[in-house]
Amino acid sequence: MTDAREETLRGLTGGIPYLQFLGMRFERSGDELTAVLPFTPHLIGNPVIPALHGGVTAAFLEVTAIVGLVWAGLGEGVQVSALPKTIDLTVDYLRAGQPKDSFARARINRSGRRYASVQVEAWQDDPARLFAQGNGHFLMP
C-alpha cells in the first residue's frame, strides 16, 4: 500500500546512487519506518572475521537518520523538498556486524526549524541486541 507520504519519500530517496550502491531500502509498518540493508559481499570490511565495514555501518545509520527525519516530517504534514544535511554523527560500534541482513530505526529526539537531533539503532537478528547505535545532528532544508 502506498500513499502520498510514501510516494514523497520514494521521490526524495529513489534517485540517490549511493543508496543503490549500498542496496538499502525502507519498509513501512503503519507509522513506523525500518531501514533494511540486505547483505552483499561488497559490504565486508574485514574478510577474516568476516564483518561488515565500519563505514558501511556508519553510512547505514546516517541514511536511516536522514530518511527517518523526512518520514517524521511528512507524517506531521511538513512540506519536504530536500533532504536534511548531516552536521555530525557519532557511531558506537557495539559488536561486529555479521555477514547477514541489517535493520535500523531512527528516533527523532528533537526536530526544530533549523536543527534536529536523531538517535539511530541497528540490529541484525534480535532488535534487543544492537550491533551499532548512533546519534547525529542535522541541518533542516
Partner: protein, 140 residues
C-alpha cells in the same frame, strides 16, 4: 614506495568494501595513514549537485583510521572501531578525489585514539573531521 607500504596497500585494497569504494592507500607508517577515494558517480548522495554521500566519506575516514592504528609502532595484531564521531564541515567538490589523513596519536594496552581529516583538492578547508577510539588486539 617501501615494502611495508606495498604490503599494506595490497592488504587494504583487498578488503571487499574498500575495493568497492575504489580506495587507494597513498601513505602509511608510524601511526599515520593517507587513503584516497577517487570521485565515483555511484557514491553520489545528492543527484542535483553530484556531491558524494557523507556515508562514503565516513567509510574512507574509518578505513584510514584503522590503517593508522595498524601502522602504530605499538604494533597491534588487529583493530576494530569502538566509536567514531565525524563533523561534516562542507560538501566535497564534485569531481574531486577525497583524501582521508588519519593519525593514531595514542595507544594504551587495549585502546587506540585517532583523529582523522578528510579533504578534497582544497586542502585548506576540510570536508570533514573525526575522532575515534579503536580496539587494540596485541599479538599473541
Amino acid at each position: 614506495m617501501t615494502e611495508i607500504t606495498r604490503i599494506a596497500r595490497q592488504f587494504i585494497e583487498a578488503l571487499p568494501h574498500a575495493a568497492a569504494l575504489g580506495l587507494r592507500l597513498e601513505e602509511i607508517g608510524d601511526g599515520r595513514a593517507v587513503i584516497a577515494m577517487p570521485y565515483d558517480p555511484r557514491l553520489i548522495g545528492d543527484p542535483a549537485s553530484g556531491v558524494i554521500h557523507g556515508g562514503a566519506v565516513s567509510a574512507v575516514m574509518d578505513t584510514a583510521s584503522g590503517a593508522a592504528v595498524m601502522s602504530h609502532p605499538a604494533g597491534p595484531a588487529s583493530t576494530a572501531t569502538l566509536d567514531l564521531r565525524i563533523d561534516y564541515m562542507r560538501p566535497a567538490t564534485p569531481g574531486q578525489t577525497i583524501r582521508a589523513r588519519a593519525h593514531c596519536h595514542h595507544v594504551t594496552r587495549s585502546v587506540a585514539f585517532v583523529s582523522v581529516v578528510a579533504t578534497d583538492d582544497d586542502e585548506t578547508r576540510p570536508v570533514a573531521m573525526g575522532h575515534g577510539a579503536f580496539t587494540v588486539d596485541r599479538p599473541r
